[in-house]
Symmetry: C2
Subunit: 194 residues, 2 copies
């Protein structure tokens, strides 16, 4: 739609392909994400993407990179919206976590699915880190001095990631905010046992 008249040299083909991929992901699920379809959506030939990504896996990696950034933004927004206490901020990012998963099913599956987990390119894209940093910061107030922060971080992450995954997989039934808050109540008992 906003197509320049560059006869050759698309100019911003890489970004256009990523945007096309995200659109396909949103509209048709993971199976709709196809190199050829991305190319068609960007108005180039089917083999053009090969010059910008290392095959389909490379495109998915680039899309995941953008996805992780949006994911982090979603958590930051939710953190800022709720109770500013440490406990409130922790629950806030969890609500943002779930909200992102619900609003971006296919992207969430891409970010945490088999593609990214494979011993593939040596690991997870760097952007995955920025999400963990948010989590880590919100967990910090509950880490007793001198102890390993990872224990609490993984507790919180496991709980929210498990809930989000199971919810998306249809294992928890219809959306039930009350139930989610009950699960989140377990976070009241995280950290220094008072």
């Amino acid at each position: 739609m906003t197509e320049e008249k560059k006869p050759h040299h698309h100019g911003a083909l890489r970004e256009a392909l990523i945007a096309a991929g995200i659109r396909l992901l949103e509209q048709g699920g993971p199976d709709a994400l196809t190199l050829r379809r991305c190319a068609a959506l960007a108005g180039v030939s089917h083999a053009a993407p090969a010059h910008h990504f290392d095959g389909l896996a490379g495109l998915k990696l680039a899309i995941a990179d953008e996805g992780f950034r949006r994911f982090r933004d979603c958590m930051l927004t939710a953190e800022a919206q709720g109770d500013p206490s440490p406990r409130g901020r922790l629950k806030g990012i969890c609500r943002g976590y779930l909200a992102f998963a619900r609003a971006n099913r296919a992207m969430f599956h891409l970010l945490f699915g088999y593609e990214m987990s494979a011993p593939h390119h040596g690991g997870v894209p760097d952007a995955a880190r920025v999400g963990y940093d948010v989590l880590s910061r919100c967990c910090a107030p509950f880490v007793s001095p001198g102890s390993d922060p990872r224990a609490i971080e993984i507790q919180v992450w496991s709980l929210i990631h498990g809930y989000a995954s199971l919810s998306l997989a249809g294992r928890i039934g219809p959306d039930d905010p009350a139930l989610f808050e009950q699960v989140l109540a377990l976070l009241d008992r995280v950290g220094n046992a008072s």
Copy 2:
């Protein structure tokens, strides 16, 4: 290898295709699970599976059915191995949960991945229920009378499913049993707050 000389009529083609699918899953990951490869492994033509399953999705459903049964067995075994107290049994099935996920990466992804989550065939195979029943039974001692058991069940399920998923996705780093036990320690604070 144990191929009968049935000239026609394989006889147990359905089971053979499921077994072939599981083998492909174990050896080559989700992408290796292919109708044509299953057929070849079972010694039949590429279109034979169509008479036993509703396409690839149907075969995956049948494989998941078997997978869920093995999954439950793995949890039951782990439950019987540890401390027989209610808390010990609860942690036992969680250890079985993680053990299954680690030993059957691709199958685990099939059981909880996008395939099964789609609004697809109307939902999850019935066999998924048998796993939840184990969880539900182990959670029962911690449900205060008159309250909804789902709250605790989903707390526990989310925690262990999240840990297993993140572990498989390579987000928790190398296998660290001590860390896992620290996460499982959160289960000590589940249920009636003492």
